[in-house]
């Protein structure tokens, strides 16, 4: 089992997302996250998918996606140098003065932004890799158990500009 990344270019049409997500559920492929947005060409949408699977299943996933009439192109990002980020909001409520201080400290160290704040609640925005966001959730969950609300956007990815082997390692933000 291994974490994989796929980028799909699909027709920007009604039902295409249902087709793709239905393929995953119907064939029992697990899917970790899926994001979709329109591209510079309004007739084309771009989907970023992350999943965890063995090699054989992953080959099937790619073939099955390729087979769909609505799918224009499937790109495997698993071993490609990419930039990848996920937007996440965390709302912490019921905060004491001390909690708020702690949150500001965390946000400084983690390099994340406090975007909203009132006397007893703080809203944090984090644009990080999925793993970094996982770490942040773990930390906040420990400090403020049962008082956090999390909204995750799922990852989006784009190929890095430099493609020589040396930079591949340094750019691969997926495994910080």
């Amino acid at each position: 089992m291994k974490k994989r990344w796929l980028c799909l270019f699909v027709e920007n049409e009604i039902g295409v997302l249902a087709k793709i997500s239905g393929l995953f559920s119907g064939k029992s492929y697990n899917l970790d996250s899926l994001t979709v947005g329109v591209t510079e060409d309004v007739t084309v949408s771009r989907i970023t998918i992350s999943l965890t699977s063995d090699d054989q299943t992953f080959e099937q996933v790619k073939k099955q996606l390729n087979r769909s009439v609505e799918v224009i192109k499937v790109v495997d990002y698993t071993d490609v140098a990419i930039h990848m980020k996920e937007l996440m909001f965390v709302k912490v409520s019921g905060c004491s003065e001390k909690d708020i201080e702690e949150i500001f400290r965390i946000s400084q160290i983690f390099n994340i932004t406090v975007i909203d704040y009132n006397r007893d609640a703080v809203l944090i925005e984090s644009v990080k890799t999925e793993n970094k966001n996982n770490d942040l959730i773990a930390l906040l969950g420990k400090c403020f158990a049962n008082r956090i609300e999390i909204v995750r956007g799922g990852s989006v990815a784009v190929e890095a500009l430099s493609i020589d082997k040396i930079s591949m390692k340094s750019i691969s933000y997926r495994n910080p």
Partner: protein, 576 residues
Amino acid sequence: MDITGAELFVKALKKERVDTIFAYPGGQAIDLFDALYGEDDLNVIMPRHEQGLVHAADGYARSTGKVGVCLVTSGPGATNLVTGIATANYDSVPLVCFTGQVPTGLIGNDAFQEVDIVGITRSICKHAVTVRKREDLAEIIKKAFYIARTGKPGVVVVDLPKDIQREYGSDEYPTNIEIRGYKPNNSVHIGQIKKAMELLNHAQRPVFLIGGGVNIAHANMEMLKLAEITGVPVITTIMGKGAIPTTHDLYVGNIGIHGSYAANTAISKCDVLFSIGTRFNDRITGKLDQFAQDAVIIHVDIDAASISRNITVDVPIVADAKMAISKLVEKAKPLDIKAWVEQIGEWKKQYPITMRKEGMTPEKIIRSINQVFDSAIITTDVGQNQLWATQFLELNERKQMLTSGGLGTMGYGFPAAIGAKIGNPKTDVVVISGDGGMQMNIQEMATAIVYELPITICILNNGYLGNVRQWQEMFFDKRYSSTCMRYRKSCIANCNVPTECCPEYTPDFIKLAESYGAKGIRVTDEKEIIMALETAKNNRKVPTVIEFIIDREENVMPIVPPGNALNDMILESEGN
């Protein structure tokens, strides 16, 4: 000139050279039917149930090689197609199914007879689409036919809202189409062909394993050539049966859970398995890790997703079977494998598939069909009747079998025969069905009558859902749970054996046939088999139902029990 969507629909069918459509009307399709009214160039067939309709279109498509076209109304009309869509798509049959839909403005309102048929069929067809704008209609229909018939053929659903059927717009129909996400493969990788032939030429114990892909691609001539030049024995799946004539010296038999001992053993012992157009379905592989365990596996398939899915393949070749086999033939040469061929012949002789000699066995019935019909299309239903048919039917250039292999849909055989007869009016069409499956689409008898289709319908009546009963007998301690077709309220709950005093069978198939205006013949003695078949064959006007009363607990043998390796078979019933 501006025309309505419905008129464009009719024009499109003609442009696609459709001559026959299978159609059942309703409120949301009434404009389309109006446009079809009085059309001389289109033969509109109205069956009695939409499931019968779609199986008929399927049988028409399989037997003619053309695209089968269905037209039904929204809601229940559309949902009645579902089983038939899955059946056809699973066996790569090209169909285009038009469904009426409520007007675009009402979609999503839970309007009368609104269902999301595109959503329902998405996972069981090749492509499904709702037409949302009148100006898209022509292109969508063009694409539908293109997608259905190219690549690995399949079913396309086109959902047509009523307002679009009525709306005026351009009468143009495109001649060409480009779909950026759909590029059917139309070449062969020559390097892989060379590699495959290299392996084959050095093999000591090679076999061909041929699936339905060869029949679909109409590559039978090429396949025969390839087999004859190389001298390599040919094994088929159920869907591949008939790829080369079944009486040919090089033909070994079917592989699979009811395959022949020789075929299953040869697969288990071969050193090169050259497979073409099969997806290594679980019904043919048996225990996976022992499947062809000594073999290097070559796999030709048009669908990349079928390669290395169930079985890891050493040499994959993604290509159309006909194209690939033609290339293989160019490089083919005779192999020196006399000992292996003789060994397989030995196995064939040692353990032929055969049934007991006394009584009216399914073997005798099917061999009589072989004898009486020199050229025919034979459809089967699903169950023991189908399995016996795949074991004993002889197929060749003049005899084709249509069967629901992938989905295994009871109720397929009879309506498929109707479609086959409509597509091939001069060819004899024979149905081999069980008593259970026959009742799943019996209403189509009316269709066969009104369109004057003289089909020979052989019902093998064992008074059981025999295939399931056999499993209950062999693997569930004879607990005949819900499989007896002669059960009545008065029966005991834990019955495990048929007796002389079982309640009478209902319906009386003979009276039922006669009530429709068909001919009915009941056969209880083996001496009457040939006579009955001859009578049916000579009946040129109406269908003939022949009800063969067969042994109630007849089993399909041999069988690979669940979980066993392919060559670990039970060869004979305990009773024998």
